[in-house]
Amino acid sequence: MKQTLLIILGVILLIVLVNAFYIIDETEQAIITQFGEPIGGARTEAGIFLKTPFIQKVHYLEKRILKWDGEQNQIPTQDKKFIWVDTFARWRIVDPLLFYQSVRSEIFAQSRLDDIIDGVTRDIITLNTLIEIVRDTDRELSFAIDFEADYYEEIQSEIKVGRRAIADSIFSVAKPLIEQFGIELIDVQVKRVNYIEDVRKQVYDRMSSERKKIADRYRSSGHGRAAEIIGRMERELQQIESEAYRTSQEIMGRADAEATGIYASAYNRDPGFFEFMRTLEAYKRTINDQNIMIMTTDSDFYKLMKKSGN
């Protein structure tokens, strides 16, 4: 009987003892409440600690950096383009007591963040043009081919803000609004930006027609370059042929002149004899078996037929 009582007492003591301790993990922080009233500040140190059993309650809160991942929102830009914007943010519970009092749990905190960040995102995006949201710096873009796009002016416009700065301004507007919940907003980033379905189709069409123009450009440039090569070929051909003609004529001319000189210097010694010889030569060459000749007996050759001697 006495023994049973001792055992029961021991068990109760053990339960009380266990309830007097609480453990905080490295990833957690905690606040202690007594009948709902917070006692002391936040416990951010990890380890094992003592409390008044049963009377004091431990509420654990996350100590690590948490993520907020927003739904994508359809927002018009300042230049009236409708885009989907998807943002995300990091936050941390920096004032557990305030957090516990104002939002109580992470789920409620997330919905507060939804309200604030989505609203601020919408405000800031509508103040900026699409190109400012897409681009980050005003680095010069390069293209596969020099191409004057119809919207060239838009994409060449000077980038005054840029994506990172827009995200930063969403962050700096949202941060103070969130402090009241004991939450420190660490940053806001733009995860995705995309055209809405209708605009996307238009962009596809524009990209296609742009590429077709580029293809045409390549083709005509091919024809142009080919024509240039053929033109050069024809010019060189003319040059080569005419130079050859000129050179050959000059060579032949010089030879003709030389030959003429040679003939002249020889025949000049006796022009009469030359004429005689050359005439005889011409007879030999020009008279053939097709000829019929009528000669009188008066000719030198036949004169003997009429009259010998003399």
């Binding site: 596809y204 990209m207 590429r211 032949m252 025949y267």
Partner: protein, 325 residues
């Protein structure tokens, strides 16, 4: 006497049994403590030990001991392992012959706006390691989710600053490199304990509806090359041939020249030779040359009419002759 002895023996036997049970219990208890306290750390990982929630130390690979019963908490972290995250596609299974990819649509991840307000589909991977297990475990909840979000925003930030041509063809490596730098900076700002080993662009393509037009550009580029090559080919055929022909014409002219001069020289020399002989006996030589020529010429002639000088009316005769033949 005998009875008492028996009783005593039974009592000592019971005492012994009690002691034995105690010993056994003690041994079993020890075994349980050792059994639940022992753990191994594999070569690619480290063990992080928290005592009552507080970090105490990190253990290296090998057989280790911790205090059981919830006092020491062990978390193993693979610090040597290289993890991979895929964007825009998912590998389902790495087979020996072919890797299988998920058929699901991940265009939300891959589709991004380029700096010239076009759209590109960018698939990429990042490889990373946990280089600080303490930061990895205690600083950020859902490190992988954070990494994925940051990877997407970093990649889009870089792609948004490049033209679609640059993204698809011109500066792929630069884009991967810049993304890696930005991403690593973010991871350090958040103290995630992760280090990026590699950012690699995989398939980077224009969106599906635009691909035919992009292919047309490639085809046009090849066509351009083909047209130009054909012209070059023609050029290379025609010009060397023309040069050869030009050389031929010049050589022929040279041949003509040599021929002409040689002949002239020959003719002249012959004339001079004959003439110098002729000078010795002018009349005879002249007669002889004349007669020899006439002899030769008249032999070749088909018909010869020798007419008296006083004779006239020879023409009708000739006509008659012609008509008869």
């Amino acid at each position: 006497m005998a009875v008492i002895d028996l009783e005593q023996r039974a009592k000592s036997f019971l005492d012994n049994r009690k002691r034995n049970i105690m010993v056994i219990l003690l041994i079993v208890g020890l075994l349980v403590i050792i059994g639940t306290g022992l753990y191994t750390v594999d070569p690619e990982e480290v063990g992080v030990i928290q005592r009552f929630g507080k970090y105490v130390h990190t253990t290296e690979p090998g057989l280790r001991f911790k205090i059981p019963f919830g006092v020491d908490k062990l978390t193993k972290v693979k610090v040597k392992y290289v993890f991979k995250e895929e964007f825009g596609f998912r590998t389902l299974e790495v087979g020996q012959s072919a890797t299988r990819y998920s058929q699901r649509d991940f265009s939300g991840e891959s589709q991004m706006l380029t700096g010239d307000l076009n759209i590109a589909d960018v698939e990429w991977i990042i490889q990373y390691q946990i280089n600080d297990p303490i930061k990895y475990l205690f600083n950020v909840r859902d490190v992988e989710g954070t990494l994925r979000n940051l990877a997407e925003s970093s990649m889009r930030q870089v792609v948004g600053d490049h033209s679609v041509d640059e993204v698809i063809v011109l500066t792929r490596q630069e884009i991967a490199f810049q993304t890696k730098l930005i991403l690593q900076q973010h991871l350090e700002d958040y103290q995630t304990g992760l280090v990026i080993r590699n950012v690699n662009l995989q398939n980077v393509t224009p969106p599906l509806p635009v691909q035919p037009a992009f292919n047309e550009v490639n085809a046009a580029l090849q066509e351009e090359e083909r047209i130009v090559n054909e012209a070059r080919q023609k050029y290379n055929q025609v010009i060397p041939e023309a040069r050869g022909k030009a050389l031929q014409i010049i050589e022929q002219a040279e041949g003509y020249a040599v021929n002409r001069v040689n002949r002239a020289t020959g003719d002249a020399n012959r004339f001079v030779d004959v003439w110098s002989e002729y000078n010795r006996a002018k009349t005879v030589t002249k007669k002889r040359l004349y007669l020899e020529t006439m002899e030769e010429v008249l032999q070749k002639i088909e018909k010869i009419y020798i007419v008296d000088e006083d004779q006239s009316g020879i023409l009708p005769l000739l006509d008659l002759e012609k008509g008869g033949s």
